[in-house]
């Protein structure tokens, strides 16, 4: 068990406040459901709101990074890779930058843990949980949908489960993370772009709508 999934009730936001939260794509949930398709050329899109996210900066290879990694119970990822699993993960964002992802409600605790580990050294840890929301795009046609918007080589020979990249979908910068072979992807996007990105993705998915 890593610190990422250790439950500590006191760190979760108060009940009342949790209810007051609204994710950027909440109002489109039904639409996303409707526009998702199954079958051999199916593709599904939905939001995974409120993931805990910490932006981590740490000098590569230094004592700080091993301290942070120890505190998280996960190795820091190598280039373009994700360390951990879909629930608890650290994503490579740059040579000294990673994104820690954990379930809802973990941010404060994580922040404290990481900052403790960083104390005395160089680096930073910033809560960015509300900065981006997460879309999940999956189904046999998911890659084909992304290929309409993204210039990365997403062919299984080049990009697979556990790979991640910051890149452009259309004109929007995202963190793209492949979860599994189906293929399923997470697309993490800054909240103000979420509506537009969904428009873009739904448009790209139109070709795969039944009929």
């Amino acid at each position: 068990m890593t610190v990422l999934n250790k439950v500590e009730s006191e760190t979760a936001a108060p009940e009342t406040a949790t209810a007051a939260r609204h994710s950027p794509l909440e109002h489109r949930a039904a639409e996303l459901e409707r526009r998702s398709t199954s079958g051999a050329r199916g593709v599904r899109l939905h939001e995974e709101p409120f993931l805990s996210q910490i932006n981590l900066r740490t000098p590569p290879g230094g004592v700080e990074s091993s301290a942070v990694s120890d505190s998280l119970g996960l190795p820091l990822p190598t280039v373009n890779r994700v360390s951990g699993d879909e629930h608890h993960a650290v994503l490579w964002l740059g040579p000294d930058e990673s994104l820690i992802v954990a379930p809802d409600g973990r941010a404060e605790h994580l922040l404290r843990t990481v900052r403790d580990a960083q104390r005395g050294g160089s680096g930073s840890a910033v809560d960015v949980s509300a900065n981006r929301t997460t879309l999940r795009l999956s189904g046999p046609a998911a890659r084909e949908v992304l290929e309409k918007l993204c210039s990365l080589d997403l062919h299984p020979r080049s990009f697979g489960p556990g790979d991640c990249a910051q890149t452009l979908l259309g004109r929007v910068i995202v963190v793209l993370w492949q979860l599994d072979r189906e293929p399923g992807y997470r697309i993490m996007v800054r909240c103000s772009f979420a509506d537009y990105l969904v428009d873009l993705l739904l448009d790209a998915m139109a070709e795969f709508l039944d009929g």
Partner: protein
């Protein structure tokens, strides 16, 4: 669409980058020691060669790191940067 090699993320399309012009134009150690002409040159004058050019790019849509590479301005052939000459201060 040029193919730019980010030293961190690997090969990416030019559209993910911003161009930063000539590499290795150091900020003067003490700008106030420079006369107006020398300061003006720092501000505005950059090399503009035909052929090999040591230039900077920043991976804006990716890792946001600055890096430099050598590109032939006539053919767009690229190769990695020669090591940066200036010591880190």
């Amino acid at each position: 669409m040029l193919l730019v090699r980010c030293p961190w993320c690997g090969d990416r399309d030019e559209a993910e980058f911003r161009y930063g012009g000539q590499a290795d134009v150091d900020y003067p150690a003490d700008p106030h020691q420079l006369d107006d002409a020398a300061w003006g040159e720092y501000l505005f004058v950059r090399a503009n060669p035909l052929g090999s050019f040591n230039e900077r790019w920043v991976h804006t849509a990716g890792c946001r790191r600055w890096f430099s590479l050598v590109r032939d301005t006539a053919t767009n052939e690229m190769s990695p940067d020669i090591p940066r000459r200036r010591e880190s201060r």
